[in-house]
Every structure is written in C-alpha cells, then in structure tokens.
C-alpha cells in the first residue's frame, strides 16, 4: 500500500513538473504577444500627438526587461493605468454639457450597432426555424397525402402548429424537440447580444 502511495505521489509530481514545464515553455511564446497587445492598447488611450513617443519609450523599456517575462507583463498592464491617467491630463476638460452629449452619442452609437447585430442574429434564427418548420411541414404534408382523409383540416392544424413554433408560441409542449432548440437558441443569442451591448455601453460611458 505504502509503495503504491509513493509511486502515485512520484507519478503525480512528475506530471505536475511536466505540466509546469510545458506551461512555462508555452508562456515564453505568448507573453511577448500579450505584452505587445497591452502596450498597443495603452498607447491607444493617449492622444494621437503623444502616442508615438510613449510607444517607443515603453516598448524599449519592456524589451529591455524581456528576460523577466512575468514582471514585464505586469508592467505592461500597469502602463495601461498610466496611459489612462496621462490621457485624462493631456486631454483638455470638456464642459459638462459637451461630455454628456459626446458620451450619449457614443452610447447611442454602441446601442444601434448592437441592435443591428441582435436584429441580424434573430432574423437568422427565424429563417432557420422557418426552414426547419418548412421541412417538417413537407414531411407532414407527404404523410397526410399518403394517408388521405381530412387533408384540409390536417393541413390547417399543422400550419397553425408550425406558425406557433416560428413565433415561439405556447401551444407546443416544452419537451417538443424543435420548440425546445428554437427557444434555447434565441435565449443564448439574446444573452450574448445583451452582454455585448452592456459591455460596449459600459466602455463608452466610462472611457
């Protein structure tokens, strides 16, 4: 038993060591990219007249510290804080009315952009649902034609049913496959769109 525990502990520590080694090796590859991205993002906050100077200065400093990848990454993050403060000081303060107007315009612009995206997504979902409902309709129609009988009445019922599916109506049971997936898809897409909208609004308001 003891031998088994020791063997397992040894194997576990070996696995952890290998994993750490892999992550460290991997980090050497992605840290410079991330650092560059953070630096560009920091400089984007600055007024265009100051951007080149600070980009050159900071990239030189970060590059000189590239032998300490995590430290330089932390500095790149902090430079974003610096850039935010500097941008605030370098940009002449706008009158309150002007600020409200510009932030309002930014918020409306962000909202309209995402509403268009949301509209497009929902249109896509609706078309997919219609296609799905259409194929279902064709199958049911073929079946109805095959069995004969009260064709017109059956078609009326089926069309009403498909219409409800497309509109997300409540006549179908919740365990119905098509209805369930349609509702799931629209809910997920709505959540994504709402999240993106909130994110963009927040960014435009608190920039």
């Amino acid at each position: 038993m003891t031998v088994l525990v020791v063997a397992l502990a040894f194997a576990g520590s070996m696995a952890v060591a290998i994993a750490i080694g892999l992550v460290t090796e991997d980090a050497k590859g992605w840290i410079p990219h991330l650092r560059r991205h953070l630096l560009n993002r920091a400089c984007d906050r600055l007024p265009s007249t100051e951007r080149d100077r600070w980009h050159a200065e900071w990239s030189a400093e970060l590059e000189a510290a590239s032998d300490r990848p995590l430290w330089s990454l932390a500095q790149a993050i902090r430079l974003n804080v610096a850039a935010r403060t500097m941008a605030r000081e370098l940009t002449p303060p706008q009158p309150l009315g002007e600020r409200v107007r510009s932030q309002g315009t930014a918020a409306v612009s962000a909202t309209s952009k995402h509403l268009a995206t949301l509209g497009g997504l929902l249109r896509g979902v609706r078309e997919t649902a219609e296609r799905l409902a259409g194929s279902e309709l064709r199958e049911v129609r073929a079946f109805a034609r095959g069995v004969g009988g009260h064709y017109a009445e059956q078609m009326r019922q089926i069309t009403a049913l498909v219409g409800n599916v497309v509109r997300g109506g409540g006549t179908r049971r919740r365990d119905d496959g098509l209805y369930f997936y349609f509702r799931l898809l629209t809910t997920v897409l709505s959540l994504i769109a709402t999240f993106a909208l909130a994110l963009n609004l927040g960014e435009s308001l608190f920039r």
Binding site: E57, E61, A64, R78, L79, T85, M86, L90
Partner: protein, 117 residues
Amino acid sequence: MAKSDYPRVTIQMLAILRAMLDRPLEERYGFELLAITGIQSGTLYPALMRLERVGWLQSHWEEIDERREKRPRRRLYRLTAEGEPAARKAIAKAKREDGLAGRFVGAPPIPAKGEGA
C-alpha cells in the same frame, strides 16, 4: 510644453525628484527610476510627464548603436537648471511640513554647491 509656476507636487513626484537629486548630473530612464523609487509604472509615468511639462525635468533619446547594444534606445530624464532648485525647495517644504510626503522623501537632499546645509 506648457509650463506653470509651481505645480501641485505629489508624493510620487517628490520620490522621483529625490532620486534625481541624489545624482543630479546623471540621466535616468523610466524603469531605473521605478527600481530606485519603488513607485509602480502606473503612477511613475504620469508623474514624469507632469514634471516634464512644468519644466523641472527634460528628456531625450539615448544615443546608442541599437545593433551593438542589442536593445532599443531608451528615453533618458534629467533635471533642468530650473528643476534642480525647485526640486530642493519642494523636498525641503515637504520635510518642513513633516507630513506623509516628508516621511516618504526620507533623508534631506544633497545640498547644491554654495548652498548652506
């Protein structure tokens, strides 16, 4: 650069000035000041920018052969003729007031030539 008569001197600015006054003739780069003062880069660079804008510090690009040195040239900072006495004055004022800033500044700065201790 816009220059004002006397800026609002923060603790971080005092720490930078103190580090610069230790060797007033030497030029220092940003991350070097970061190591000396212990200030984070998030506050160091805004403070450097302020000091440069009021004319207490000046900066220029390092003149090196980047290929030979195997690193890009850095931006170097030094006190201006106007900045040196102003820095001493600001540090002395902070110490007199004996507030947080005075304690942060630590030992009194090296007196300039011809200046009494």
